[in-house]
């Protein structure tokens, strides 16, 4: 059986030869926004139903738990945690990302279905924060995955998180939150950065 290959397929060289056929070899594609009132409606729906991936990647995870209680209550904004990337639309990177966690972040981010957004929580996502000279934490998160909104602080209060979510909602409504399309358009640059720090890449190139 012959398989038609697009001109733009990924090589997946880091997988063993026999396993390559099980995994996706297509590149991510940018999905252009629909025009006019329909896009406005879709953006309204996306902004008010941001389901976050329940992956507490760093320090910031401790301030995600109070958000689920009635005092700060993120559910009224339509935000709820989901256990699988397939069902989530917002990935909150809570704080620093070590190299080992970065590999899982990349894998989870690529498995999320579009439209998807990323919130960088804490100063560590901005410039490395407290661990700027550490040999195991990344300094600029947006060189590895696209970030839509940063929330500075160490660590930010739950109210700051809610303000960040509201900012993200505003950006989605105005059509500026195009992180996913940026990732698809600059896929090679992001992938080169990721592979330069993640040395034992035993995953497909695009983890869809």
């Amino acid at each position: 059986m012959s398989e038609t290959k697009h001109a733009n397929t990924l090589a997946n060289l880091d997988l063993p030869e026999g396993e390559r056929r099980y995994f996706c070899d297509a590149r991510p594609e940018a999905v252009e926004p629909v025009k006019g009132i329909w896009e406005k409606f879709l953006n309204w729906a996306r902004a008010n139903s941001l389901w976050i991936l329940g992956f507490g990647t760093g320090c910031g995870a401790i301030e995600l738990r109070p958000l689920m209680t009635s005092r700060f209550d993120m559910y009224r904004f339509g935000v709820q945690p989901r256990p699988t990337p397939r069902q989530s639309g917002l990935f909150i990177i809570g704080g620093y990302a070590s190299v080992k966690t970065m590999k899982r972040i990349v894998r989870s981010y690529e498995q999320m279905q579009g439209p998807k957004f990323v919130l960088g929580l804490g100063s560590c996502t901005v410039n490395g924060g407290m661990y700027w000279d550490s040999y195991n934490t990344v300094n600029r998160l947006d060189h590895y995955i696209p970030v839509d909104v940063y929330i500075a602080g160490c660590m930010p209060r739950p109210e700051a998180l809610l303000a960040g979510i509201k900012t993200l909602q505003k950006r989605i409504l105005s059509g500026e939150a195009e992180g996913q399309n940026e990732y698809a358009r600059n896929f090679d640059w992001y992938k080169a950065n990721q592979k330069s720090i993640i040395k034992d890449w035993n995953m497909p190139d695009y983890n869809w």
Binding site: G54, F55, G56, T57, G58, C59, A61, I62, E63, R65, P66, M68, T69, S70, R71, Y96, S98, K100, T101, R104, M130, Y131, D133, S134, Y135, N136, T137, C154, M155, R157
Partner: protein
């Protein structure tokens, strides 16, 4: 050491045979790095036979920031904002142990009121950490409501911390020479009323949790620790006390003001419980009440006086050469700081000893086989696994 040399030293496999994954009887499942109820990330490589775990290997390192290397690059005073971030639910133990080690090496004395405030800070941190843990333990067995109550109570305690030190999570309140500042006006009254609320919520939690048939059945018999395992695995803290071993650093080797307070060890046989997850939960809830009582005692007996004795110019502070090891009883067990100074203005070597180093790696790998795969999360939480202190 080449591969050929290594063949002379066969790897110790602990008496278990490797499992034949091709036979169709076993399946390898990776659980993690996110677990319900655990603050932190670690992976478990499970080999399961149906529902039962037959082998468990831990993988840590998701939260490794290289603290010890970073601390060697910063001046002594610059490390204070850094050390509290090693342990997120209860950062004050780090601040206290580092400050005490620095004071011991440099000969700085601490005023008496500062010691009382430090001890009060530590007990409040213990209480907030236990509240978070309790939500995690109940949540790991599917009881999410308890987490909602306890995390809200933890929020009220964090409000008190914020009023005292300016930060909800990371306080940086305990500094060399004492504490950063005295308590605000009326703060003690607010602590008192918050503690009353926390106690009433603890009554509700006890009613709901310990009479729940699901919790009794799932947590009962889970992760049994025998007293003779305690020294072999280096188990400390409530894990050991629930097994009947009477060890508490606050009583055995009192530090700060614990020798002046009136409290006794909480053990499993003292409460009439077995040494399983259910018993450990009961012990920890009893220790929460003990913490509340200790905070009240400290507020009653706190002396007046200064709270800080200024060290020399901290930007050019050279600590005399020496080494020390200090340990404290944190929520999970014995927490220790090994600090080596070589006379310069930066530390030579700081080693942070966290209790989860022994509980969550060697002990978990020993107790994992035989449990149901649905209970591994509950087992991890009942040992109070906290991955960041394993890899720092």
């Amino acid at each position: 050491m080449t591969t050929k040399d290594r063949e002379k030293y066969p790897v110790h496999v602990g008496g278990t045979e490797p499992f034949d994954l091709e036979s169709g009887r076993y399946m390898k499942v990776w659980q993690g790095p996110q677990h319900p109820g655990i603050t932190g990330n670690m992976s478990l490589e499970l080999i399961t036979s149906g529902d039962e775990v037959v082998d468990l290997k831990t993988h840590v390192g998701y939260l490794h920031r290289g603290f010890e290397k970073l601390m060697e690059r910063r001046k002594w005073i610059q490390n204070f904002p850094l050390v509290c971030r090693i342990c997120v639910p209860e950062p004050d133990f780090n601040e206290y142990l580092y400050a005490a080690a620095v004071e011991e090496l440099s000969g700085l004395t601490v005023p008496e009121r500062a010691n009382w405030l430090r001890a009060m800070n530590l007990e409040m941190a213990r209480l907030t950490s236990y509240l978070m843990w309790l939500g995690g333990q109940a949540g790991a067995f599917g009881m999410g409501t308890i987490g909602q109550w306890t995390v809200t109570m933890r929020d009220f305690m964090l409000d008190l911390f914020e009023e005292l030190s300016g930060g909800r999570i990371y306080h940086m309140y305990i500094v060399p020479g004492g504490v950063r500042g005295d308590v605000p006006q009326g703060w003690f009254d607010r602590v008192w009323s918050t503690l009353t609320t926390v106690e009433s919520v603890l009554d509700d939690v006890e009613l709901v949790l310990f009479n729940n048939a699901v919790f009794k059945k799932r947590a009962g018999g889970l992760g049994v620790i025998d007293p003779d395992m305690v020294d072999r695995f280096g188990i400390t803290g409530p894990n050991a006390r629930a097994a009947g071993v009477r060890r508490d650093l606050r009583i055995d080797r009192p530090y700060l003001v614990y020798d002046e307070l009136d409290f006794s060890i909480v053990t499993g046989d003292g409460l009439g419980v077995e040494s399983d997850a259910y018993g450990r939960t009961k012990c920890r809830v009893a220790e929460m009440r003990q913490s509340i009582d200790l905070i009240r005692q400290m507020m009653d007996r706190m002396p007046e006086g200064p709270v800080h004795e200024a060290p020399p110019n901290v930007l050019h502070w050279k600590i005399p050469p020496g080494e020390t090891y200090l340990s404290a009883e944190c929520t999970r067990g014995e927490y220790g700081y090994y600090v080596v100074s070589d006379g310069s203005d930066k530390p030579r070597r700081i080693y942070v000893r966290g209790p989860s180093y022994t509980h969550a790696v060697a002990l978990l790998e020993h107790m994992g086989p035989g449990t149901n795969i649905a209970d591994t999360a509950g087992l991890m939480v009942s040992l109070h696994t906290y991955p960041p202190e394993i890899e720092r």
